[in-house]
């Protein structure tokens, strides 16, 4: 297939369309195969389950898409998730004695603010001090995790407010609330990325930071903002996970950065920035979710799940490599 697409001059129209829809096609094939393999896959309840399971990674991946589009990377998402989660939990817990229990919405606001602050620190250091994103967020991965342990005293924060738990366990009509939150976040992110000047600048900065600067874009501000967005979404994901598991777990989110980066890469976003799409990321998130779910339903060992996911990531990047070859 890539050979056809990379034929010099004009690739066949059919193959161009296939190429554009490659992730969607892969998703459909996998869903089709799974529904043949197990009768439980296509059930409404299972599909809702998958959506609920992917909502946390989905939120991280939205933020990661913004970051990677600018040519950056955010390795600290799992740690920021944990920090946001325990901060929120601490304000709705009856067992956490240092802090009184407050209104759950205020608590969520404070948790989100905490994550956003960490994201802002990433953003300032990367955009002003020019520490490379890889190094800064690698540092933040450790810093935020350590702060999470300090804050929670290394213990899970439990006995949480019942209203708060609805955020993770309740339903908005037929949709689980985490799914609804993920979808709303996705829509807002889509509008920001494709219907605002800011969104166009994100692409421009990732495509070529220098020409973006020359054409008058405040590159530093754009870079700063994508890390803020990522921090905010991580804390939101942490809040959902806390409400879903009924506890603020300081170990939550370990190595979640891998799944988030995987979803973005599978979704066709280029690691060098400037190219990619949010829809692709959504499909990447779903692809990972369906594969994990399907292999669970089929009682396949989790060891194979890891091998499988790794191969899909590498495969997706290889396809992109052939594609960009054809651009030259």
């Amino acid at each position: 297939m890539p050979e056809e697409a990379s034929a010099p001059g004009k690739p066949g129209k059919f193959w161009t369309i296939v190429w554009e829809l490659r992730i969607a096609i892969a998703l459909i094939i996998i869903c089709f195969a799974l529904s043949l393999a197990t009768p439980y896959f296509m059930r409404e309840r299972n599909l809702i389950n998958v959506l609920r399971q992917v909502s946390v990674n989905g939120l991280l991946s939205i933020g990661m898409t913004f970051v990677i589009l600018t040519g950056g990377i955010d390795l600290s998402v799992g740690s920021m998730l944990a920090f946001g989660g325990v901060v929120t939990a601490s304000f709705v817990s009856n067992a956490f004695k240092d802090i009184p229990s407050i209104n759950p919405f205020l608590a969520i606001f404070l948790g989100l603010a905490a994550g956003t602050l960490l994201g802002a620190i990433n953003g300032v250091v990367i955009s002003k001090v020019k520490v490379t994103p890889f190094i800064m967020t690698l540092g933040m991965l450790s810093i935020a995790r350590g702060m999470t342990y300090i804050y929670s005293n290394g213990m899970p924060i439990t006995d949480l407010d019942k209203t708060f738990l609805q955020v993770g366990q309740g339903y908005a009509s037929f949709l689980p609330i985490p799914v609804a939150i993920f979808l709303v976040a996705f829509l807002i992110a889509w509008v920001v990325l494709y219907r605002t000047k800011f969104g166009r600048y994100v692409y421009a900065v990732g495509g070529n930071a220098r020409s973006a600067r020359i054409s008058g874009i405040n590159v530093g501000f754009i870079v700063f903002m994508v890390y803020v967005i990522s921090g905010f979404l991580c804390a939101l994901a942490g809040t959902l996970l806390t409400a879903r598991t009924s506890a603020g777990l300081p170990q939550a989110g370990m190595s979640y950065e891998l799944d988030a980066i995987a979803a973005v890469v599978i979704g066709g976003t280029s690691m060098t920035g400037g190219k990619g799409s949010l829809i692709g990321t959504l499909l990447g998130v779903l692809l990972i979710g369906f594969i994990n779910n399907g292999l669970d339903l089929l009682s396949v060992s989790s060891y194979y799940q890891q091998v499988c996911k790794g191969m899909i990531i590498v495969g997706a990047v290889m396809l992109d490599y052939f594609q960009s070859d054809s651009d030259r």
Partner: protein, 334 residues
């Protein structure tokens, strides 16, 4: 800037020298595999509250092994070279700690193993709880609630860790006694609540209406399964659910009737008992100071010279959950 650094370094040197000379205390290190997670926190807290530490007989330092055998190894080297009298050792894994124990032994430092065994003859003594027994107890309890027949799922710890291997052995031993009990699924969720939650959700989909019992090899995973059952709109009370360790959240879940059983792994006794054993080798005619020997009359002190001390497991059920909860509140109060 450089002056400040030099000053701080000098200050640190003076301070540490001062500490080293203070009194004739016994220097004892608590080498934990990592201070994240409730169990090791409780273990460390219990040590700090041991009467010998409170009264100043022991100068205690807790080390964070950061879940890494090589970190523990270098901490042992540090303690050996700094003239520690004894080390209370909780290794990350049964096979990983032998070299560390050998290092201490070569420097005549007493090493008392606690919680997790080390495959080494050089260990002075060991105090812990037998994981096969806890695995057996929890599976028995789950099967009992199921009325001796039905389908269970087992959520396992990280494959290859000694706790997983031994708890599985206990689980399967109990299940083997009941020909009408079938294991539908047996998979790892790596001690993680979030992983167990997704796993159980998928199992409930794959085996609708067929799962009667959930055997979690630790409490966190059992709690994840409880969340999944609730999320699926099912009644937790229709399932037999058990876990091991007795973490606070599990005690709460037993109180609320969401879990049928948690089995307390007694961090206090494992930690304080280990310190008593170490002091037994250091102090002439030492009498144990911790309450754990009174709490478990079946665990005999025997002059402190036994090779093995077995801390009994305490089942936490609806009957004693309130009492255990009060005890825990006391231990976790800051």
């Amino acid at each position: 800037m450089r002056k400040t650094v030099l000053f701080l370094a000098a200050l640190l040197l003076v301070l540490s020298a001062g500490f080293a000379q203070a009194g004739q205390k016994y220097r004892i290190g608590g080498a934990t595999y990592g201070l994240v997670g409730e169990y090791m926190k409780l273990w460390a807290t219990a040590l700090e509250r041991h009467p010998a530490v409170v009264q100043g007989l022991v100068d205690l330092t807790i080390f964070d092994g950061r879940y890494d055998a090589s970190v523990q190894q270098s901490q042992f080297e540090t303690m050996s070279s700094q003239g520690y009298d004894a080390i209370l050792f909780v290794p990350i894994d049964i096979e990983a700690g032998a070299a560390a124990v050998a290092t201490a032994h070569a420097n005549d430092v007493i090493v008392v193993g606690s919680n997790t065994r080390v495959n080494s003859d050089l260990l002075t003594a060991y105090i812990g709880s037998n994981d096969v027994i806890s695995g057996y107890m929890e599976a028995k309890a789950v099967i009992a609630k199921m009325g001796g027949k039905g389908n269970v799922v087992i959520i396992e710890g990280p494959i290859g860790q000694s706790a997983q291997i031994e708890r599985r052995e206990g689980n399967l031993k109990a299940i083997a006694e009941y020909p009408e009990v079938k294991v539908l699924e047996m998979r790892t969720a790596n001690w993680s609540r979030a992983e167990a939650l997704a796993l159980m959700e998928n199992w409930l989909t794959a085996h609708p209406g067929q799962i009667d019992g959930v055997i979690g090899q630790n409490d966190e995973m059992a709690l994840g399964a409880v969340q999944a059952i609730k999320a699926a709109g099912l009644d937790v009370k229709d399932f037999a659910v058990a876990g091991i360790d007795g973490v606070s959240d599990a005690i709460m879940a037993v109180k609320n009737g969401e879990m049928d059983l948690s089995i307390l792994q007694d961090a206090v006794s494992q930690a304080q008992g280990a310190l008593d054993i170490a002091l037994g080798y250091l102090v002439k005619d030492y009498q144990p100071m911790s309450d754990c020997w009174k709490d478990y009359p079946e665990m005999k002190w025997n002059g402190g010279k036994d090779k093995n001390y077995d801390v009994p497991w305490t089942p936490i059920t609806k009957d004693n959950a309130d009492e255990q909860w009060a005890k825990r509140q006391d231990l976790t109060a800051r």
